[in-house]
């Protein structure tokens, strides 16, 4: 099916858009401007001009506003953060659609610095507003974008550890990726570490500040890169648009390592991810472990053809916000649900039990339960169990047990 395959990097200060197969990367401040007394909304250069002329009213940090469900007054009208984000995204995508004369978006992957249920909820509203169905709309973390960006480079780039320093207005963050090749499957793991303390880009405006920033970077990087073999180290973010200021850091980094500067890692990674959604089978049939994906498996034992068989509810590498399972069981002399949680790096299985004693007592095998599983974040699973009875033979009480399980 035709249409644009779009990656979109959405941060509080900037937003970037990239389409698969196209070179241009669009960059906007995450800001929207309304022309006074008119129902006209603008972004980018137009918005800037309008603001300078004094005819516009703007709102920025749209991601935070939407996440916290804040309301702002613009031109005497109360507008929710979510609505502003919707308008902003629509205008961003409209520019891309206009440029490429394509009205249909085949896949849209939005990458964010951090994912939680609040922002997921708001973004799903945005998808509805944009008229993009859930199957064509995905949200991933910067960590995952990084993985997809690197995996789309030549293999020698990711033959060993790959590091990424991201220096933006939000601060300094280091991502690291490694590929573990196993007999059955290949696992790609990415993790990140934030710089301990603020890293203000305003430091780079003075000589003393530059020296201080360089020292901070060096001490941060030394600990992270020590005793590891890197096939590549990437630098991204507005802070690394020019690297001359970080003289010591660059000298330290370039020792026996290949360094790449790339300002669009996350947006391009998102576009690669979008492309992979439409590629069947996936070009990267690996288990991806990163921010936004589960690091543990959750399973249960069920009876299948008179044998106890493990039933996987969620597997390592699943996107936690996409795991939504609804299953129905019949209790056979059982008054509890037992979940087995196994972390990727451990052989030990932890048992978590949910008691169903609250449900009405009935003859054996005449209680049907509906179990719904979802995740609040990477480490918290929510289980809702509802008593469905046994048809008209044993009517349902519809009692519900809800439990949060920490992985």
């Amino acid at each position: 099916m035709d249409g644009l395959i779009v990656g979109l990097d959405l941060c509080d200060t900037y937003t970037q858009v990239s389409c698969m197969g196209k070179d241009r990367v669009w960059s906007f401040a995450t800001q929207i401007c309304k022309k006074k007394q008119e129902n006209r909304w603008m972004i980018g250069a137009e918005a800037y001009e309008l603001l300078l002329s004094g005819e516009g009213i703007s709102a920025d940090k749209l991601l935070s506003m939407a996440r916290r469900e804040r309301t702002v007054v613009i031109d005497g009208e109360n507008i929710k953060g979510r609505e502003l984000l919707q308008k902003f995204l629509k205008l961003v995508l409209a520019q891309v659609q206009k440029e490429y004369a394509s009205s249909r978006i085949q896949q849209l992957v939005i990458t964010l610095p951090g994912i939680d249920t609040q922002i997921m909820d708001r973004l799903l509203y945005c998808a509805d507003y944009l008229g993009i169905s859930r199957g064509r709309f995905h949200v991933i973390s910067h960590g995952e974008s990084f993985l997809y960006y690197v995996l789309n480079q030549k293999k020698e780039v990711w033959s060993s550890y790959v590091g990424l320093f991201d220096l933006s207005r939000q601060g300094l963050r280091y991502y690291e990726m490694k590929v573990q090749k196993g007999i059955r499957q290949t696992t790609v793991i990415s993790d990140y570490e934030n710089f301990d303390g603020p890293f203000d880009l305003n430091l780079l405006e003075t000589e003393t500040g530059i020296r201080k920033a360089d020292r901070m970077l060096c001490s941060f990087a030394e600990g992270l890169l020590a005793k590891k073999l890197f096939s590549a180290v990437l630098l991204t973010g507005i802070g690394f648009e020019k690297q001359e200021w970080a003289e010591d850091f660059m000298t330290m980094l370039c020792r026996r390592r290949k360094i790449y500067g790339e300002s669009n890692v996350f947006v391009k990674g998102a576009a690669y991810r979008a492309q992979d959604y439409v590629t069947i089978p996936s070009e990267f049939p690996y288990v991806m472990i990163c921010e936004g994906r589960l690091k543990a498996s959750v399973s249960m034992e069920v009876m299948h053809k008179e044998k106890l068989t493990p039933l996987v509810i969620a597997a390592p590498g699943d996107n936690w916000y996409e795991v939504r399972t609804t299953l129905e069981f019949i209790l056979d002399n059982q008054k509890e649900l037992v979940f087995y949680i196994q972390h990727l790096d451990s052989r030990k299985k932890n048992e978590v039990v949910i008691s169903l004693e609250e449900f009405p007592s009935r003859p054996n095998r005449t209680t049907r339960i509906q179990m719904r599983v979802a995740f609040l974040d990477e480490r918290t699973m929510v289980v809702m169990v509802q008593d469905k009875g046994f048809g008209e033979l044993f009517p349902a009480s519809n009692a519900v047990i809800r439990k949060e399980i920490s992985l």
Partner: protein, 271 residues
């Protein structure tokens, strides 16, 4: 101890089992009814209506096809029930084997005896209208070592009970009379006639029976009648009815309409 994973069954038209007054919404419920009610399902349970339910609502086209072929082949119909149980994976193989033994034991019985057990089962389910022809059919069996006077008496007695519960007093009396004809030492039949007369005083009792009743001490029967009356007066249903009469006209009429509707449904179910 285990969990049975249920398959997704897009049931839009539940399968009605009028004998049990319920509708079935899943393959598990179907298996439960088959397993717990062998006497209900042994004759003509698997029909076109059930096959349609299995095919379209349970989305088990393969099983429906298998059952259809089996039915056409004219083989042992009990195997069709066993096939349903095996395919739905609700019961374990050990339980299915026990069920098979139950079916075999029932089939081994004399046809009249099996017919009586089946009719008694439906009587318990208050299917009086449906069970009358079954009892009547039993009376057509020729006499042998099982079908004897006592058997006929029991069948007539059951017919009497069916008619009495459907408020057909005359028919009930005639059936009890026949029952007494085949077993004139059975005071229990006279007791039933006595109760019938108490319930329906207009029923004409033959002089021969009347004289027999006079010879028996009836104190305990009178006590039973009295006890039943009291129980009736104190029953929740009667109290609800009493309450209804104290309500204002609009609510009373509304309640009465509901109640009559309920009684009609119950009576239809009996038929």
């Amino acid at each position: 101890m285990s969990l049975l994973l249920c398959r997704l069954e897009p049931v839009r038209h539940p399968f009605e089992v009028p004998e049990l007054g319920i509708r079935l919404y899943s393959s598990q419920e179907l298996c439960y009814v088959i397993y717990e009610n062998p006497l209900l399902v042994m004759e003509d349970f698997v029909d076109e209506r059930l096959l349609q339910f299995i095919r379209e609502d349970l989305d088990m086209d393969f099983l429906a096809g298998k059952l259809e072929n089996w039915k056409k082949s004219g083989e042992n119909p009990d195997n069709i029930l066993l096939l349903i149980l095996a395919e739905c994976s609700y019961y374990m193989s050990g339980e299915i084997n026990r069920y098979r033994q139950t079916l075999i034991q029932l089939r081994k019985k004399h046809p009249a005896e099996f017919g009586k057990i089946r009719a008694d089962y439906l009587f318990e389910k208050r299917q009086y209208g449906k069970v009358i022809p079954l009892y009547e059919k039993l009376l057509e069996y020729p006499k042998d070592n099982i079908v004897n006077d006592l058997f006929y008496s029991r069948v007539w007695s059951c017919l009497g009970a069916c008619h009495a519960r459907m408020f057909q007093a005359e028919k009930a009396y005639r059936a009890y009379e026949k029952a007494y004809f085949y077993d004139n030492r059975n005071e229990k039949i006279l007791e039933q006639i006595y109760y019938l007369k108490a319930m329906f005083p207009s029923v004409a009792i033959a002089p021969r029976i009347q004289s027999m009743l006079k010879l028996i001490r009836r104190e305990s029967w009178n006590t039973s009648i009295e006890r039943a009356r009291k129980k009736g007066e104190e029953s929740v249903a009667v109290k609800e009815l009493d309450k209804l009469f104290f309500k204002d006209e609009e609510k009373r009429l509304e309640g009465a309409a509901k109640l009559v509707q309920q009684w009609k449904q119950e009576y239809r179910a009996m038929m």
